[in-house]
């Protein structure tokens, strides 16, 4: 132990294991076991009359990657998550910057205004948007009052993207904000006093230091958007499916659990790859700056 004060407590060797035992038990039975069962389930097959059959082959995965229907859903999920991430960067990063330049009092107030919706249930937020965007919703009422024709907004990919941006924005603002806080303001002052233009300061000083925050936020936003359920479920309707709503329909609609499980496993693996790539990039950055 590096900290001499800590070692003075002289724990018994088994103490940390005893203390973590309840959590280990919980997470082993409730994370490892169910995931393992799901991975196995994905190899099974399904028959309308018999139910789940314990065959073990890859036909579910072959079905997913060989069927246009599922490929289209994966592609739609991918571009909706990508577009959501892009808009979150374009809106969230400047917003974090604007917040960081506010006076202390306003900053604390608006940070909470921007971030607190994070704690409001996603069903409530999805419902809020469906109310705004529906055919006789408030936006269309407004348009009609102005003498314009109503626009179909609900059950379009546009509606899903708008609502996803609303839900995901805090996940972009937080890491960018944190990166901005680590910034030494004197560097900016120094650059300005040496006659650098605002644009140069932005490009040469702010952006490079904020980039890791943007990257980190992007990965979180992309991962969460790609697996989002309530938003596409309520704003995409029955026809505009994303991966999560497809899994839901397989499990609770057509009862083809093995197929649903294999889609879920694909989603999980894709998510883990994204997270690990991110860690790899971070490590490389660190080794570059340190080594």
């Amino acid at each position: 132990m590096s900290d001499p004060a800590a070692s003075s407590l002289k724990p018994k060797r088994s103490l940390p294991y005893i203390l973590t035992a309840p959590a280990t038990l919980l997470f082993a039975t409730m994370v490892l076991v169910p995931l393992l069962l799901t991975a196995l389930l994905a190899f099974n097959s399904y028959d309308d009359s018999v139910g789940i059959k314990s065959t073990y082959d890859l036909h579910n995965y072959l079905a997913i990657f060989g069927d246009d229907y599922y490929l289209r859903i994966f592609w739609r999920t991918f571009w909706i998550a990508g577009l959501t991430t892009l808009i979150c960067v374009i809106v969230g990063a400047p917003e974090a910057y604007v917040l960081s330049r506010m006076s202390r009092k306003w900053r604390a107030f608006f940070l909470i205004v921007i971030l607190a919706p994070l704690l409001v249930s996603v069903v409530v937020r999805a419902f809020g948007w469906s109310m705004l965007l529906s055919a006789d919703g408030l936006i269309n009422h407004g348009l009609q009052a102005l003498g314009m024709a109503p626009v179909k907004m609900l059950y379009t990919s546009g509606a899903i993207v708008v609502a996803l941006v609303h839900v995901m924005l805090p996940f972009m603002v937080i890491p960018v904000w944190t990166a901005l806080q680590r910034l030494d303001p004197t560097v900016e002052h120094a650059a300005l006093s040496l006659n650098a233009s605002q644009a140069t300061v932005l490009r040469r000083i702010l952006l490079p230091q904020v980039a890791p925050g943007v990257l980190s936020g992007s990965l979180i936003v992309f991962g969460l958007s790609a697996s989002a359920f309530a938003i596409p479920g309520l704003l995409g309707g029955r026809r505009l499916k994303m991966v999560a709503t497809t899994v839901y329909d397989e499990f609770l609609g057509s009862l083809n659990w093995p197929l649903g499980a294999s889609i879920a496993i694909v989603l999980l693996v894709a998510n883990l790859i994204i997270m690990m790539t991110y860690n790899r990039i971070l490590e490389r950055r660190y080794s570059k700056t340190l080594g």
Partner: protein, 265 residues
């Protein structure tokens, strides 16, 4: 020079409007007197709030959610407290692996967890058990509590513990009289955060609830896929009220900024 120009402020105003618009509108529409989703300018009434209380299925779901959130948040704290103490204080073989395992629900999509629980519950024949629903929620919310406990444990000034120890206090007394009071704000903040997260959870719960154990968000989701009427707005408004109240307590206990961003603003 560290102030925002008019364009920046306009942009900020638009973002704030975007963020608040759906929530504010939900709360306004909840008070409408009409049968359709409309702003209450033509006359406000509480009829749609009354309608909520005339729906026994919604009330049942509310009690389910409340009970579930209270139990799983409490269970979560009981599990995260010793684990957080061990992870925060001691270096031991397997520490990083355990840490990764305990935080893993943060990187596993809730949808995948929901599917996995559904499968396990059906294999074990415990589908519809409220106890196992509590356990499932506990897994999903424990990472949040654990992070708060870890932050609190790392922040303790060890000298008072050592002083107590050198004066002959036993390990239990040190824990009860010194350590626990020092991490209590973090612990109660963690409990509250866990409560909110459990109370709001939809994606995992929708796979593991049965008609008898349906939670409020699941009930709302089911209802909203079939019909949209102002009652959904009043339930949502009540939901915002409850979450808002919990947030207020959280802010007093611990500071909302510290919970949301991890530091004091």
């Amino acid at each position: 020079m560290r102030s925002n120009g008019p364009i920046a402020l306009l942009f900020h105003a638009l973002v704030v409007t975007f963020v608040l618009a759906p929530l504010v509108l939900v709360c306004l529409v909840a008070f409408t007197a009409q049968d359709t989703l409309s702003l209450p300018f033509a006359g406000a009434s509480l009829r749609w709030f009354k309608a909520v209380f005339e729906h026994p299925d919604f009330l049942q779901s509310f009690y389910n959610s409340l009970q579930l959130a209270l139990m799983s948040a409490t269970l979560s704290v009981c599990i995260a407290l010793p684990a957080g103490l061990a992870l925060g204080r001691y270096r031991f073989p397997g520490r990083d692996a355990l840490n990764g395992l305990f935080l893993s629900p943060l990187i596993i999509p809730s949808l995948v967890l929901g599917v996995a629980f559904m499968r396990m519950f059906s294999v074990m024949g415990i589908t519809g058990s409220f106890f196992w629903l509590v356990v499932a929620h506990t897994v999903v919310i424990t990472p949040y509590v654990l992070r708060m406990v870890l932050a609190a444990v790392m922040g303790i000034d060890r000298s008072s513990e050592q002083a107590a120890q050198s004066l002959g206090a036993g390990p239990w007394t040190v824990f009860r009289r010194i350590t626990l009071p020092a991490i209590l704000p973090g612990l109660s903040g963690g409990w509250m955060l866990a409560f909110i997260n459990s109370f709001d959870e939809l994606t995992m719960s929708i796979f593991v609830t049965t008609p008898a154990t349906v939670t409020l968000p699941v009930r709302m989701y089911m209802y909203a896929t079939e019909s949209i009427d102002p009652m959904m707005a009043s339930v949502s408004a009540l939901m915002i009220l409850i979450t808002g109240g919990a947030m207020l307590i959280l802010d007093r206990l611990y500071g909302l900024d510290r919970i949301l961003i991890g530091e004091r603003v």
